[in-house]
């Protein structure tokens, strides 16, 4: 789950004791003018959970309330990536001396948290890694122990941070603690700025909450950004199903992430275009009834592949759901089946007797037929 900058700052950084600039969240140009009157010279920042907001024209400086109102009119309502800008954060302008980068994330190879720091802040970490790899300091952390002050001091050794070093060390420790407290997948401050007055302040913040931990981060999750979902994807999410709507015309209903991806790949292999990714694997295999409804509700679908290969997921249960949904939905597009694995005999019997359709022996043949039918 992604968070907008204002939410990451107020919910995570503030709570952790990490300093951020004074700021006010606004939803209209009038509010922005009032906020600017309180704050003084300010920066108006589009609140959307994607990067490169500055390059997209979503971050602008303003010297007066009038100017703030003017830039707010430009920013509010613009689109950045998949998102419409509905809120802006009005923050005090900072006199920046130097920009740093600080983050904690998952090192999936080491299977440990990784604390990162660089004196080359302001640009993407990928850019820093490509251009100045030596400028990135890394500390792999033992998940059961908070990083020691000595380990953090060692990480910062030789960077000549001067008077800022103690503040940076404190912030890195606080950042790691917040990463643990809030089940972060990524917690990044970029830039972490040394200001002209000697303070070190987080000017931007990116927080990604581990989706698997939302059940125990319920309070903070309320502040998460709504994903850029289509109406159909929202319906899927409400039913507890992960649906990704694509621009193709061959609908996909398969069990398990691996088999579903493969079905999409084979559609592409035969020159077709998949209309969706939809997973009904794991415990969700009992939801084939609503799943069929979702896939057929996609207006782009011209044919449908139903590809079941049961391991944990029982194909007879999935086929039963399909048969039930079929009676209500009466699909108008041709449907092509391939069914194997756990519960296969009963599933095939159901599809034959209730729907009068003969499943294909190989998924490739079912998919090829579906691609042809969609053309």
């Amino acid at each position: 789950m992604n968070f907008e900058e204002h939410a990451a700052k107020s919910l995570v950084l503030n709570a952790a004791g990490i300093p951020v600039p004074r700021g006010i969240l606004c939803i209209s140009d009038a509010e922005v003018a009032m906020a600017a009157a309180k704050i003084g010279p300010c920066v108006v920042k589009a609140q959307v959970p994607v990067g490169k907001r500055g390059k997209a024209g979503g971050i602008k400086l303003a010297a007066s309330p009038d100017e703030a109102k003017k830039v707010a009119r430009q920013i509010l309502g613009m689109r950045i990536g998949d998102y419409l800008v509905e809120r802006v954060l009005v923050e005090e302008q900072a006199k920046i001396e130097q920009e740093f980068y600080a983050a904690v994330l998952h090192d999936v190879t080491a299977r440990k948290p990784l604390l990162l720091f660089s004196t080359e802040g302001g640009m993407d970490i990928e850019e820093i890694a490509a251009e100045k790899p030596a400028a990135i300091r890394r500390l792999l952390v033992d998940i059961d122990v908070h990083p020691s002050p000595a380990a953090i001091a060692d990480m910062l050794k030789g960077l000549n941070l001067g008077g800022a070093e103690a503040q940076v060390a404190l912030i890195l420790g606080q950042l790691y603690a917040a990463f643990r407290t809030h089940d972060a997948e990524l917690l990044e401050i970029n830039p972490l700025a040394l200001l002209a007055d000697g303070r070190v302040v987080a000017l931007d913040c990116k927080f990604v909450l581990d989706d698997a931990a939302i059940y125990r981060q319920a309070e903070i999750a309320k502040g998460g950004a709504a994903g850029a979902m289509t109406a159909l994807e929202k319906r899927g999410a409400e039913a507890g199903l992960k649906l990704i709507q694509l621009d193709g015309n061959v609908g996909v209903l398969a069990n398990g992430a691996g088999l579903t991806m493969t079905t999409m790949d084979v559609i592409r292999h035969f020159g077709g275009r998949p209309a969706n990714f939809l997973e009904i694997g794991g415990e969700a295999y009992t939801k084939s009834e609503i799943a069929l409804d979702l896939v057929l509700s996609n207006p782009g679908v011209k044919s449908l592949v139903i590809n079941f290969c049961g391991a944990f997921a029982r194909t007879d249960v999935m086929a039963d759901g399909v048969v039930k949904a079929w009676a209500k939905l009466k699909p108008k597009v041709p449907v092509f089946f391939s069914i194997h694995g756990t519960g296969e005999e009963e599933a095939v019997r159901l599809v034959r007797s209730e729907l009068g359709i003969e499943p294909y022996d190989f998924m490739e043949d079912a998919i090829q037929a579906a691609v042809k039918a969609a053309q």
Partner: protein, 301 residues
């Protein structure tokens, strides 16, 4: 990580609906299930298996080489850590959606105690004709058949399809190793490849990979040194970038974890990479006939 009939298996979460269903299947197939864990029902017997309050007690009383977890995400970390502390050598973690920081704690405990974790989010391990641990349809004769081909898969559903295709082509399997769909796995593609390379009962290996992460690239490094024929299929060629394709591990960000990078690395290591699952069995057959160098030539013709 190849399970054997002599391995004593402890089922954590044996009394739940899935724990019960799959324990019965495992026992019927020949798996040596010696104990189940449920603190509230210690002293009882469930599906013929004695129940203990903790994994440590079960290990003391009944022994235990392999643990398998039918435990929901919120309790998974504690169950795994206590299994590692109890001295379980191989722990099969079926649970999906365990918070990532809990997974890190599980791996840290496993490293401290010398436990090999398989998973999380794996469908388990199958040694056809001998035993299985997990949630794979080992007992469906159209899917699995004893033989000499090792199969490594991140996905249970796709792994099932691949074994089914091999069996239909008359090619049996020496072992199925489900490594799991999570981003942080205890057993990587490379670990599984190494085990099958050293296994005298395995003549050739099928790798069923997925986009995301760097495991296939890492396995390719090891594959360079191998002599057994290898065939790979990587799922996710048509997946849009930046979207998680069901498995938390299956996401392409930038160039990392892309289909092209995996295919290139595997092919450079002499692995035959096929486009669709049904091409796997013929490629394996050709590879077995021709030896490793011949597989590639035969498939590219």
């Amino acid at each position: 990580m190849i399970v054997r009939r002599k391995d004593r298996v402890i089922v954590l979460g044996i009394t739940g609906k899935q724990g019960t269903f799959w324990t019965e299947k495992m026992i019927a197939y020949g798996t040596n299930v010696v104990a189940g864990i449920n603190p509230k029902r210690a002293g009882e017997t469930h599906v013929g298996v004695p129940i203990f309050a903790t994994t440590a007690e079960a290990v003391t009383a009944a022994g235990g080489d392999v643990g398998v977890m039918f435990i929901p995400p919120p309790m998974a970390k504690d169950a795994a850590v206590s299994a590692a502390e109890a001295g379980i050598k191989t722990l099969v973690v079926l649970t999906e959606h365990i918070p990532a920081q809990d997974v890190m704690a599980m791996h840290a405990a496993a490293a401290r105690h010398g436990t090999r974790i398989v998973g999380p989010n794996t469908a388990g391990l199958v040694t056809p004709g001998e035993c299985f641990v997990g949630i794979m349809p080992a007992f469906v004769p159209s899917v699995f058949k004893p033989g000499r081909i090792g199969v490594i898969s991140r996905s249970g559903s796709l792994g099932t399809l691949v074994c089914l295709n091999l069996t239909r082509a008359g090619i049996g399997q020496s072992a199925f190793i489900g490594i799991g769909g999570d981003p942080m796995l205890g057993t990587t593609t490379r670990d599984a490849l190494e085990a099958l390379d050293k296994d005298a009962g395995t003549d050739a290996i099928v790798i069923v990979g997925e986009i995301g992460g760097g495991m296939e690239e890492n396995a390719a490094e090891y594959a360079k040194k191998m002599n057994k024929p290898m065939v790979a299929f990587i799922a996710g060629a048509a997946a849009p970038p930046g979207k998680k394709m069901g498995h938390a591990g299956a996401i392409v960000t930038g160039n990392a974890g892309s289909y092209a990078s995996k295919r290139q690395a595997l092919e450079a290591a002499g692995v035959v990479v096929v486009d669709t699952p049904s091409q796997i069995a013929p490629a394996v057959a050709t590879g077995l006939q021709a030896g490793r160098g011949g597989t590639k030539a035969a498939v590219s013709q």
